[in-house]
């Protein structure tokens, strides 16, 4: 039954990855990227790599998101094209 969890996580991963690229609101994209990192952390943990999962959860979902949000707060929030 574990493949069902894997499948759900992988589908969510693809959805969030596409959402990050498509979204024009950079703040929403940063938050979605944090969700992406968290799903990746769950997948790593599920693949018996808790070390990588721990690092991904702390760096990807924590530190990187905060740095992105700081960068957005110092520049423009919306992407222009």
């Amino acid at each position: 039954m574990i493949w069902l969890l894997n499948l759900a996580l992988l589908i969510l991963l693809v959805i969030t990855a596409i959402a990050v690229v498509v979204n024009k609101d950079l703040l929403a994209a940063a938050i979605t990227f944090s969700v992406y990192s968290f799903i990746m952390a769950m997948l790593y943990t599920q693949l018996n790599a808790p070390d990588v999962g721990l690092a991904e959860a702390a760096i990807g979902a924590g530190a990187t998101t905060v740095l992105f949000i700081i960068a957005i707060s110092k520049t423009a929030r919306r992407e222009e094209d």
């Binding site: 905060v66 707060s73 110092k74």
Partner: protein
């Protein structure tokens, strides 16, 4: 971080949660030779606790907890630990970073565990100082509000 987040729930929870996050980081650091974890993860989690303080309680509060005077020497602590321990290993007749040649204790395994833990502590200190420094440098200081 432009302005303080004035919410009593967030401030209280952040103040209560911070010691536990730091304790977890120290556990990951010191127990990294037996359970998943290690220097990188512990350093980032420790830095995340200071980032939480900076977001919830204000940047100045976080800067008071890890002073720049302490943080800048800490940043060079990791490479220094590696170099010193590696040279000690060479001096004891082994290769660079061949920990088990150091005649510290009767048991070969204990020497490995102690020196590997020391190296992990060095890595963790460096990562913690670096991530907090990057955060403080980006968050504070000169920025034009738009």
């Amino acid at each position: 971080m432009p302005e303080l987040f004035e919410d009593v729930i967030v401030r209280t929870i952040a103040r209560l949660l911070t010691p536990f996050i730091q304790l977890f980081a120290l556990y990951i650091l010191m127990h990294g030779h037996a359970t998943p974890g290690g220097g990188f993860q512990a350093g980032v989690i420790m830095a995340a606790s200071f980032i939480l303080i900076a977001i919830a309680l204000g940047l100045q509060e976080a800067k008071d907890r890890v002073k720049q005077k302490v943080r800048l020497p800490m940043e060079s602590f990791g490479p220094l630990t590696f170099v010193v321990i590696g040279i000690i290993c060479i001096a004891c007749g082994g290769y660079y970073l061949q920990y088990t040649t150091v005649p510290l204790l009767p048991s070969l395994q204990a020497v490995g565990a102690i020196l590997i833990s020391a190296v992990e502590v060095g890595i963790g200190v460096t990562v913690m100082a670096m991530v907090t420094t990057i955060f403080f440098s980006m968050a504070g200081g000169k920025h034009d509000t738009n």
